[in-house]
């Protein structure tokens, strides 16, 4: 039933196709990319070449092929999005389920904290949390260097759980009054059993929705950070969508349009597709939402 509703959402099905194709494309990066990440397309002069035969999407300031870099960049960005979304959704589901189920003080404090966090400008909180996270010495083994990809993943993992927790809590609050939970309690099921066997499985719909939106959030968050110079550093073999978009900032005034247009366009396509999927998932898994159509 839910599946049929999802399939009837045409934009979402198309988006699934786009994301699948894109994922396949970037996973096969050694085959699909024409040059290495830091390889120049030809001997100098090679910087700021407009799109042409040996560089389909043009080259950047030191003559690297934008098309190949875009593939490697999307690869890193998708990885960041998926990995940190998995962390934040796991954390958020657990915290949200426990808060919703137990209620009381724990619930109050948790929801106050999340409300407060979500009320503040996203970038400010993110930057401050990032610095605090980087300054705590005993977290070093977990987070790695502050400008590494791993740090960004951990940062968004820790940062993103709040929205998820709120959604799951709401779901659990409505579920826990239902008969089957009462029945489980009546036969003496433990709290942990009820949460893991009844409440969380019945919240799969909202959790899936939260997962898709967390992926987008992390991808956009990473590019925002990178845009302002706080993102992962371009290492030997890596770049990311954020780094590419950040480089576009300098390219605008000089009119090297390809450096701005292609990375921005890639980011828009990815964000839009995943958002469409999330939206359709929400419609499909929540029968109460009748969209009037």
């Amino acid at each position: 039933m839910a599946f049929r509703r999802f399939v009837s959402h045409k934009a979402a099905v198309a988006s699934c196709g786009v994301i699948l194709a894109l994922s396949l494309f970037v996973i096969l990066a050694p085959l699909t990319a024409r040059y290495g990440v830091n390889q120049s397309v030809q001997a100098p002069p090679n910087s700021f070449l407009s799109p042409r035969g040996n560089a389909w999407l043009g080259t950047d300031d030191i003559g690297r092929d934008l098309y190949s870099r875009l593939i490697f960049g999307i690869r890193v960005s998708l990885l960041i999005g998926l990995a940190s979304a998995l962390i934040s959704v796991t954390l958020g589901s657990l915290i949200g389920a426990v808060a919703g189920f137990r209620g009381g003080k724990f619930d109050d404090v948790m929801m106050r904290v999340t409300d407060l966090f979500l009320a503040f400008p996203f970038l400010v909180t993110l930057l401050v949390v990032r610095n605090v996270l980087g300054a705590v010495p005993w977290l070093k083994p977990l987070t790695g260097e502050m400008n590494s990809v791993r740090f960004i993943i951990v940062l968004f993992g820790i940062f993103g759980w709040m929205g998820v927790a709120r959604i799951v809590r709401g779901q659990v609050l409505s579920l826990k009054e239902r008969e089957f939970v009462e029945a489980a309690r009546a036969v003496g099921a433990s709290r942990r059993y009820i949460i893991s066997r009844h409440l969380l499985p019945n919240s799969v719909g909202p959790i899936m929705v939260a997962l898709t939106f967390s992926v987008v959030g992390a991808i956009i968050g990473e590019s925002t950070l990178a845009f302002f110079g706080y993102g992962p550093q371009a290492g030997d073999g890596a770049t990311s969508l954020g780094i590419l978009v950040g480089a576009a900032k300098g390219a605008v005034q000089t009119g090297f349009w390809w450096l701005a247009v292609f990375p921005c366009f890639a980011l828009i396509v990815i964000a839009l597709s995943i958002n469409f999927i999330g939206d359709a998932l929400r419609d499909a898994t929540d029968p109460r939402l009748d969209r009037g159509a």
Partner: protein, 324 residues
């Protein structure tokens, strides 16, 4: 009602204290103010450093330090910035004025067009217009502000200049460099692009809110009653429909101030617009504690204030809600 407001106000003060303490902690741990002072002023004497520590409340004991900072902050004894020893208040005041101007312009434009779009979409749900508005709003939400800023700059400033000899809108600052005095038309030209960038997000968000809120109302019983009384369709829609549909939207608008400020910070930075966002990113980059703390207090206070406004306006607009 009055008592409710008083009680909420009384609660706001401890909340403000707790949150500023958390911000203080985060900045102390995250930016290490003393180290950044020494980095910017490498030849400062030990006495100077000690003075900096005393005025800013940077005692190794966090609680003691916070109390010192609080006392100095409340009594108006603000430390100067670490770079160039500038007074903080004039800089903060200018930044607030500029941001307020840009934020108000963008919010007014955004909410106006957003509400209109939402109403049009809700009038014929599922129709062509509805699908178009809904899809555009969805695209608008998915595009982060710095992307739209870059693309707009590229189109209206750089390429416009190439094609037509003169750029349509300037891309940085409030006035051209060297300009002095007040010049409204010029200022508006400088504000067009940043306003559009922030407004896109607001339009996209509010058209969706308004659409769903109005759809809820249109399907309710009192609309049918109003129609059955023989009131004209237009009057039913405006007096009964819109008024009720606006209640949740107003509340969301007040709660949304954080995300609008977030959009402003990003936009200001790209357009070098000297507001709160540029102020923050600059002082954060330098670890300038004396500049950062008052900024944080302003932001925390306004978020709390707008939360309060949201609650009160909700109760005031909707008589069905009882406060006591």
């Amino acid at each position: 009602m009055f008592r409710y407001i008083l009680r909420r106000l009384a609660w706001a003060i401890p909340t403000l204290l707790i949150v500023t303490f958390l911000v203080y902690l985060a900045l102390r741990i995250g930016t290490d103010p003393v180290a950044s002072y020494k980095r910017v002023n490498p030849r400062a004497t030990r006495a100077k450093v000690q003075q900096y520590i005393d005025v800013n409340g940077l005692d190794p004991n966090f609680v003691k330090g916070y109390l010192t900072w609080l006392r100095n902050f409340v009594t108006g004894d603000w430390a100067p910035s670490i770079k160039g020893r500038r007074e903080v208040w004039p800089a903060l005041k200018d930044a607030m004025a500029n941001t307020l101007r840009l934020g108000t312009a963008a919010t007014v434009v955004g909410i106006f067009f957003g509400l209109i779009a939402g109403v049009f979409a809700a009038l014929r749900p599922g129709g062509k217009r509805d699908v178009f508005i809904n899809t555009s709003a969805f695209v608008g939400i998915s595009i982060p502000p710095f992307i739209s800023a870059i693309l707009l700059q590229l189109l209206f400033a750089v390429y416009w200049q190439r094609w037509f000899g003169e750029s349509l809108f300037p891309t940085s600052g409030v006035y051209p460099p060297g300009h002095s005095g007040f010049d409204l038309p010029l200022m508006i030209r400088y504000m067009v692009l940043p306003t559009i960038v922030v407004a896109i997000q607001i339009i996209a968000t509010y058209s969706r809110y308004m659409r769903s809120s109005l759809l809820d109302v249109l399907n309710s019983d009192y609309m049918r009653t109003a129609r059955s009384k023989g009131i004209s369709e237009r009057r039913v829609l405006v007096k009964h429909g819109m008024r009720n549909a606006l209640i949740p939207v107003v509340t969301i608008a007040a709660l949304d101030v954080g995300s609008i400020v977030g959009g402003l910070i990003i936009t200001e930075n790209i357009f070098s617009y000297p507001g709160m966002g540029l102020y923050f990113l600059k002082s954060f980059g330098e670890g300038d504690f004396p500049l950062l703390m008052p900024w944080m207090v302003v932001i925390v206070a306004s978020v709390l204030l707008f939360n309060l406004i949201a609650d009160i306006s909700y109760a005031w607009l909707d008589p069905r809600i009882r406060l006591e």
